[in-house]
């Protein structure tokens, strides 16, 4: 284990940027509060961030499985009307959304 500690450099601007990435609108008070609270969590995580674990592979699953596949056989789809009935806005059997400001990334 290495000694150098990683302490969170999370800034107010980071919080604003991350909120935008996550499509959340924060009041100034919330930005202040969340900045402080997230710093606390990240500072607690510093013990982990400063460990030297270069010899270990990251595990994204607790139990290792491989090649889980399904046959290319159709299954019944959902009833369109039932699905569209739950949608906030519908037009011509499609989901209606406000104008799209920008092209897909």
């Amino acid at each position: 284990m290495s000694d150098e500690r990683v302490t969170s450099s999370l800034s107010r601007d980071d919080v604003v940027h991350v909120a935008h990435l996550a499509r959340l609108d924060l009041t100034d008070e919330e930005v202040e509060l969340f900045t402080a609270q997230l710093r606390t969590v990240l500072d607690h995580a510093a013990d982990v961030a400063s460990l030297d674990l270069s010899h270990l592979e990251p595990s994204s699953h607790p139990i290792a499985l491989e090649n889980v596949l399904r046959a290319d056989e159709p299954r019944p789809s959902l009833d369109r009307d039932e699905v569209l009935a739950a949608a906030p806005a519908v037009e011509d059997h499609r989901f209606r959304v406000p104008r799209i400001g920008a092209e897909a990334p």
Partner: protein, 472 residues
């Protein structure tokens, strides 16, 4: 109250009708749940229809299933076809899924009767059920206290006697910790043993559905009914599970038990004392009990609070106001997405979504997310070493007994600390169970946790049964 095992026996034998049992449960909820708010919504008609179907099967001499007529409380993050499923969030208020979760189908096949959807921390993010958008649940043992969380509604419903069985989901302790605080049995199976299809995701690599019950035997009965392979879940384990009920009474003679200091020492003195009593009881019952230390567990909490929010930040992106649930309009799509999510999510969800987004964002991925996944490997290896010497591990479920409503809502880190003893099993995907074992100095329930290696459910229940038998 009557156990699920005896209720099912009575219904199967025709001594009692499922409809009678169901009506009694529905009446009890109607009469008393305003004190606890364990249910968000009661499935009156669906429950009666299912009960009548069970009675019809009995009358026709068909097998009504191992859970015949037994009322079950469902956490509100389990999809129920045509019946509101909200995850305790405004953003899904009134949403009726067009499909049933695999576990909900399994319950129906087993003859169980789902009586309602229970309260929970929003999207299962919390340890007190105070993060529900629809108001908190109160602990039936003391209504000034929290029931724990995030499955606090199911734990309270079982503790209050509304239903002998409940289902919850456990991502960092969300079944075991509320079970401990409410004085009931709560168990998290091996990751992949119970299908997640139809469980609204919080953190996909950690979430696992499991049972609440008043006895270990009832928990095993419910577990056996929901465990199994599901082709709709790629992480579902392919093997067919052995039923655990048949071997549940085999005792602990010769079983090697590691009393894990790291899951006891940090806890309140009265909780730690109960765990040591349980260890002594197991030794007296013939188990080989030793103290063991697994220091790597101390990194679990930090790793968990990076991995779970990271996965959640992606899992919760779909709540964008386009296809279902809440929409708050805006000038363009991005404004609509933002207005919808800002109005639809509560503070804790926003906090974790931002934390997870940050942990995954450019420049921080390796330092936070990838590093946390390495810690996960570290914890798994530590478990493997411990299980070379022991069949199961023993510890506390939660560091304290139930705390006051509102005591920790403004201090996220203090709230997160509730999960310190339960998180290691989520990181490793191993099964673990919380068994009520006496009370603390405040007279509130204490839970003792038994941990087993992957697929060690049968052993887990055997040991838990002995702990239960010696509970003060």
């Amino acid at each position: 109250m009557t156990t699920a095992v005896s209720l099912a026996a009575e219904v199967r034998s025709g001594a009692r009708s499922a409809r009678d049992v169901t009506d009694e449960a529905l009446a009890a909820v109607a009469a008393n749940d305003d004190r606890f708010h364990s249910f968000l919504d009661v499935m009156e008609d669906e429950a009666r229809a299912q009960a009548d179907a069970v009675d019809a099967a009995v009358a026709a001499g068909r097998d009504p299933g191992p859970l015949a007529g037994v009322p079950v409380a469902l956490k509100d993050n389990l999809c129920t076809r045509g019946f509101a499923t909200t995850c305790g969030s405004r953003i899904l208020e009134g949403w009726r899924p067009p499909y049933d979760a695999t576990v909900v189908e399994a319950l129906r096949r087993a003859g169980a009767v789902a009586v309602g959807k229970t309260n929970m921390d929003e999207f299962a993010m919390g340890s007190s059920t105070e993060n529900s958008a629809f108001g908190p649940t109160r602990n039936p043992r003391c209504t000034e206290k929290v029931p724990g969380g995030s499955s606090g509604g199911s734990a309270a419903a079982v503790a209050a006697g509304f239903a002998p069985l409940g289902l919850g989901s456990d991502t960092g302790g969300s079944i075991r910790q509320p079970a401990a605080l409410c004085g009931v049995v709560g168990m998290k199976p091996t990751y992949g043993r119970v299908s997640r299809y139809g469980l609204v995701a919080f953190a996909s690599s950690l979430d696992q559905i499991g049972p609440f019950a008043t006895t270990v035997e009832d928990a095993a009965l419910l577990y056996d009914a929901i465990a199994g392979h599901d082709p709709m879940d790629s992480t579902s384990l392919p093997s067919t599970p052995e039923p655990t009920l048949p071997s549940i009474g085999e005792g602990v003679e010769g079983i090697r038990i590691g009393l894990c200091r790291d899951l006891v020492d940090g806890c309140a003195a009265d909780v730690a004392a109960r765990v040591h009593e349980a260890a002594d009881a197991l030794a007296a019952a013939g188990a080989k009990v030793e103290e063991v230390s697994v220091p790597e567990f101390s990194y679990g909490l930090s790793a968990y609070y990076l991995i779970a929010p990271a996965e959640a930040s992606s899992n919760l992106a779909r709540y964008d106001g386009v296809r279902y649930g809440l929409r708050v309009d805006g000038a363009d799509v991005e404004a609509m997405n933002t207005a919808t999510r800002t109005a639809g999510f509560g503070a804790e969800v926003k906090r974790r979504v931002m934390l997870g987004t940050y942990a995954l964002s450019a420049g921080y991925y390796d330092a936070y997310y990838a590093q946390a996944q390495r810690v996960r490997t570290l914890v798994m290896q530590a478990f493997d070493r411990a299980y070379d010497s022991y069949d199961v591990l023993l510890g506390a479920t939660a560091p304290t007994t139930a705390f006051d409503l509102g005591a920790k809502v403004d201090d996220p880190m203090a709230m997160y600390m509730n999960d310190v003893c339960t998180i290691p099993s989520n990181l490793s995907g191993h099964p673990a169970i919380s068994v009520p074992f006496g009370t603390g100095e405040d007279g509130l329930p204490v839970g003792v946790q038994v941990l087993a290696p992957a697929l060690g459910e049968a052993m887990l229940f055997r040991v838990a049964r002995v702990v239960e038998a010696h509970a003060p």
